[in-house]
Symmetry: C2
Subunit: 540 residues, 2 copies
């Protein structure tokens, strides 16, 4: 009866495209790239040999620890391209020895005690949606006695609701849909919808500074965190619920983005929203040779106008065509406002005015507005939402088709953007051409700030069967190098994990990492928590 998660790729075993649909996708790709494409067979768990677990749990933890192969396989990787390719190759060499499913905070603490005492690496695991190697026991053999994947999935409840302050106390392991299901009866919503929404957890969002629904203002989960409860090997860190404070460096900010290296987020008080009742949305088109440039200028001006749209998504011509929103020659700027409190005509009118002054063409009749609760959302928006959350299934098909795919995202100040965008594009296109003989690079803005945009790039290129990992590595290295060299960040919301460590080490001040190491030593003296993310594992 219970749906089972795929151990080798995204989502449900019975989710995503079926074999016929997958062949259709492969056919389209073959036509686009002018190459022959076949689909690698999906792995079965019984084809994969796993080494015996190197560690056995103490009696007190036996009931929550599993050595079941399906669990070990399913907790070996995240869901990045490299992960899927290795899974398709039946390579699960970094599999954890055990997967633990604590039912409460005491069991999390007991597990950390055991790991710290026995020098077992412990990798906190929320929904397993990392695309940067954030939950993978990479290069830990020989340094630790074993590896436990700590799955927070049983900590999946909303514990308390404060309707007056619009906040809720929520367990860290809850996945997106179960969280919203528990908030809905109260008329509340977190409104945090990363693309991984279905298979990522509140604790994971906080630990990775996940980027969400709002294109402006509340771009990351960070601003929604009111307080945290974090279990560390040294004890529990519980911050106070406060709307704001000026008492020293903000305690929560040390743990927001700590990627499981400083502690395990078991609970958070989160700031919530009333469910929106008013919506206004439009799509402004920018055509011509300087269309993208004009659209960027429109976005800059809107981002500096203090209007705070919930969506301000610029699609370049390729992305617009792929989304069915453009004809392949025009860029499209999607602008939307939403509110639980007031009609949005004045806000939208000004945003459109700015976009049109910058050279855009707004639809006749202006914006589509809507009033009423979310159930009334029209078919197109619902279809877009479904396509958005189902997109990760496609990555599995691309990997099976031997098509190298990667999305990378960043942020950069407006003054540098033109040079940055050109430089990143040149570096990536050059790498894609050199490595794969061709491919496509497209760009959209997922989030925007008054001081700069967060561009999101998508690469698709025909790979060489058996060489996809090396091809991906070379393209990824070229992209990462360009991002950091040209003044961007190595990641706006995909987090650092293990794949982004070289860029992270270049981007952040060495002394800040030393300070972070000092903090880690106080919280995790044995260095067992997710070793390798953010900081190097301690010497064995």
């Amino acid at each position: 009866m219970t749906r089972k998660r795929k151990f080798w790729g995204w989502g449900w075993e019975d989710g995503g495209p079926n074999e016929e649909q997958a062949r259709g996708v492969a056919h389209t790709l073959a036509q686009r790239f002018g190459v022959a494409i076949d689909l690698a067979p999906v792995p079965r768990a019984d084809e994969i040999a796993l080494a015996a677990p190197r560690v056995a749990p103490p009696a007190a933890l036996a009931a929550i620890c599993s050595a079941d192969p399906h669990e070990r396989l399913g907790h070996t990787y995240g869901k990045g391209f490299r992960d899927i390719v290795r899974a398709l190759r039946r390579d699960f060499s970094p599999a954890p020895d055990l997967v633990a499913f604590p039912r409460d905070e005491a069991e999390v603490a007991a597990l950390l005690d055991w790991c710290a005492g026995a020098r077992i690496a412990c990798i906190p695991y929320g929904g397993g949606s990392s695309v940067v190697g954030g939950t993978e026991a990479r290069d830990l053999a020989g340094r630790y006695a074993g590896v436990v994947s700590l799955d927070l999935g049983r900590l999946d409840r909303v514990l308390e609701i404060d309707r007056t302050s619009r906040a809720a106390r929520i367990q860290g392991g809850v996945l997106g849909p179960a969280l919203e299901d528990q908030l809905r009866p109260h008329g509340l919503t977190l409104r945090h919808y990363p693309q991984s929404f279905e298979f990522s957890s509140l604790g994971g969002w906080i630990a990775t500074r996940s980027g969400g629904h709002y294109a402006t203002l509340y771009t990351h989960i960070d601003e929604f965190v009111e307080s945290l409860r974090v279990v560390t090997p040294s004890g529990v860190v519980a911050s106070r619920r406060l709307p704001g404070s000026g008492a020293g460096p903000a305690p929560d900010r040390l743990f927001i983005g700590s990627e499981g290296a400083l502690g395990v987020i078991t609970e958070a008080w989160m700031r919530l929203q009333d469910r929106p009742r008013f919506r206004a949305a439009t799509a402004v088109k920018f055509a011509g040779a300087r269309g993208f440039e004009s659209a960027v200028e429109a976005v800059r001006q809107i981002s500096q106008a203090g209007l705070h749209p919930s969506n301000c998504r610029l699609l370049d011509a390729i992305e617009a065509a792929n989304a069915g929103a453009g004809d392949g020659t025009e860029c499209v700027l999607l602008v939307a406002f939403e509110s639980a409190d007031h009609a949005l005509d004045a806000w939208m009118a000004r945003a459109i005015e700015i976009a049109v002054e910058a050279g855009g063409v707004a639809p006749e009749g202006g914006a589509k507005t809507q009033r009423g609760d979310e159930g009334a959302r029209d078919g197109a928006a619902g279809a877009w939402r479904n396509a958005f959350v189902n997109a990760p299934y496609l990555r599995d098909v691309l990997a099976r088709a031997g098509v190298v795919s990667e999305t990378f995202e960043t942020a950069v100040t407006w003054d540098r953007f033109a040079e940055f965008h050109a430089g990143v594009g040149a570096a990536v296109r050059d790498a894609v051409q050199r490595v794969c003989g061709g491919g496509t690079l497209s760009c959209r803005f997922t989030h925007v700030y008054a001081d700069g945009p967060a561009p999101y790039y998508t690469i698709l290129a025909p790979g060489k069967r058996g060489a996809e990992l090396e091809q991906w590595d070379e393209i990824k290295a070229a992209a990462s190098e360009a991002l950091v060299r040209l003044g961007g960040t190595i990641t706006h919301h995909h987090s650092v994990g293990r794949d982004h460590r070289p860029g992270y080490d270049r981007e952040t001040p060495a002394l800040f990492r030393a300070a972070l190491g000092g903090a880690k030593r106080a919280l995790d003296p044995a260095g067992v928590l997710n070793p390798g993310v953010l900081l190097d594992p301690q010497p064995a």
Copy 2:
């Protein structure tokens, strides 16, 4: 020609009320409290005996180090009530041995090298406006070879402007007016106006998480920081200019609020605003026995409506009367919006609608709106601004009059506010009655959040000459205890310093402070930076 700063109190030697005006204030206070009040004479520098400096600078630093008594006296204290009272008593026992005025980052680094090597406590000093003992060498005798006050005042320039991204690279020592003077020709403004604006510095604002002009959204300086340059005894920490990032815990957030204990902020890239061209302001009155309660409900609803007013200041009946905005029986809610981009009618109309539905009475004719640049600001607003920035001069007069005064500020979630406000009021009124035999307590909201307000309390009570410090200590302890016990924060924007350490230690998780200590050891291994704020000084 150069105006000289008072060494014993607020501002310029020739600023604030003159003797006749001060006697007028004393007369008013005497009438209010029904006691005789006289004014203690102000101290002269030549009345004060300072111990000889315990340390002498090395030759390379001699040019930037001063042992001048006026400088040593002026750098002994901040500007809190305790500070002024001790100054009036001619007690300058915590005076620093030297005051250093580095001219560039290299000199800051050289100074820290010397201090770390010679175990000299080094207290970064911006404008000297701390009201929490943030810059005082309290209880350091015997632990350190000496104390140097590091005055950043010569680092006072805007170095670079990025008009496109609306940002500027600014030196940490610049005071408010000089900063705005340098931005004005570019049509830009930081719009950060703490009450200390005239005599506080950019670096100080960042180091203390200063609260500013905006009542919502950008309540603290935190959100305006794009990147930092911090000199520590271990070296320079320079973060990257980024509009946003998800790469690990935000580096800047470790230094924002670090109160000089982790490093010296020499430069920051700050996010700026265009100068506002549109303004709308109104004052809604709430009368009757439940007026305050209704006004609080109005503020809660406005704070959750997504309107983001620049001002949303609730004055209780006492504060409203003092400000000339009420008759002593009614609370007043000041609401204002401002924009450089668009007219604000829709925003203001909805805010007034909410306030009126909650029981408020809006002025006939609605809000006052204004269009045009800041120069066109009308007389009333200008007068208010002047009164606001001149208020700290009054504290000097109160101390001279032997009137115990204190302002304390906090934040708390909406669900707890009613009980919190009643409990804090009871505890403080009880202490004031017990200690001083009477006095007044008033409250306003300076900043508001969707999940709670930031109430700001003002105490005035007739003190006993010679016992003011002990009286203040007892009242302050009662207030602090109530804040923390009832779920608030010990400080919303006055920072921790030394006065708030007991509350800070109760409010923040012990393990977070241990982690902060770990970070400090990496940056300041000798423990010479502002010892005693946030963390205890290291053992000698």
